[in-house]
């Protein structure tokens, strides 16, 4: 798959090559965002809410 574009890019036509590189960079950008968004869209594990509740209570406890 990764070799395909090299085979189709004509080295004599720099514009076409630059376009092909930009297209690949866009594809890479999409992959990275997908990876990041996949994690960001996961439900937050309960531990995080528990943790904030605990540190909140600890702060309250310290005051009184």
């Amino acid at each position: 798959m990764t070799q395909q574009w090299e085979a189709t890019v004509d080295e004599e036509r720099p514009n076409e090559k630059a376009r092909a590189i930009r297209a690949r960079q866009r594809a890479i950008g999409r992959e990275l965002r997908r990876m990041y968004d996949d994690v960001a869209q996961e439900p937050v594990p309960d531990e995080f809410m528990d943790l904030l509740t605990r540190i909140d209570q600890a702060a309250e406890g310290k005051k009184s």
């Binding site: 990764t2 992959e31 960001a40 996961e42 943790l51 702060a59």
Partner: protein
């Protein structure tokens, strides 16, 4: 969110639920950034939790109305490198864990689809990876990314550009990575070099 025009110290008081709720609302992004730094779901959640604790402890130093997300990412990044220094011998990117199937049908689909790009990400230098993730996936401006990484805006721009180029080189099976992208010598580096040799059987690695 506290409006930028009316900053008030109330936002940082422990009894005010706003700050806590804002922290909670940004947890998904902390987890995503942590995952991309560590490549390991368990280590990432530990890191994100440490970040929450640190953020809570330092909440008085947050200026209401400024970018809370960037502030949290800065703490997370500092924590990542500080943990790393303590566990120096640990591999910088846990490829095995990154590809592990935590369980469940959805996870299996995700793992099967783990793209070449994500695999290649693990072979970037930390500096290039974090810059590319912040700008390319996290949606941060070059300016915010520079503040988070504590470097000049131009440095972030060149790291992102080099990261993109290095990823393409890796995806093309080109093992002549520039030196900046090479990890430090060690077991992890040797393993990566061995993988590179396998990727290009016709061409002996020039570095060995």
């Amino acid at each position: 969110m506290m409006p930028a025009s009316s900053p008030t110290p109330q936002a940082t008081k422990p009894e005010n639920p706003d700050f806590k709720n804002e922290l909670l609302s940004l947890v998904p992004f902390l987890r995503a950034f942590a995952r991309s730094l560590t490549g390991n779901p368990e280590a990432a959640d530990d890191l994100a939790q440490e970040t929450l604790v640190k953020a809570w402890q330092s909440r008085s130093s947050f200026i209401p109305g400024t970018n809370l997300k960037a502030w949290l990412f800065t703490i997370l990044r500092n924590q990542f490198y500080s943990d790393r220094r303590r566990a120096w011998r640990q591999a910088p990117w846990d490829q095995e864990a990154a590809e592990r199937i935590p369980g469940g049908a959805d996870d299996q689909v995700y793992s099967a689809e783990l793209s070449d790009t994500v695999r290649a990400l693990g072979r970037l230098s930390d500096e290039q990876r974090e810059a590319l993730i912040l700008v390319g996936a996290g949606g941060f401006s070059y300016e915010d990314a520079a503040a988070i990484c504590k470097c000049a805006v131009g440095t972030v721009k060149s790291r992102v550009a080099r990261a993109r180029k290095t990823l393409i080189d890796i995806l093309d099976g080109d093992d002549r990575l520039d030196d900046a992208a090479r990890p430090a010598e060690g077991d992890a580096a040797r393993e990566i070099m061995a993988q590179l040799d396998k990727l290009s059987p016709g061409e002996p690695s020039k570095k060995r």
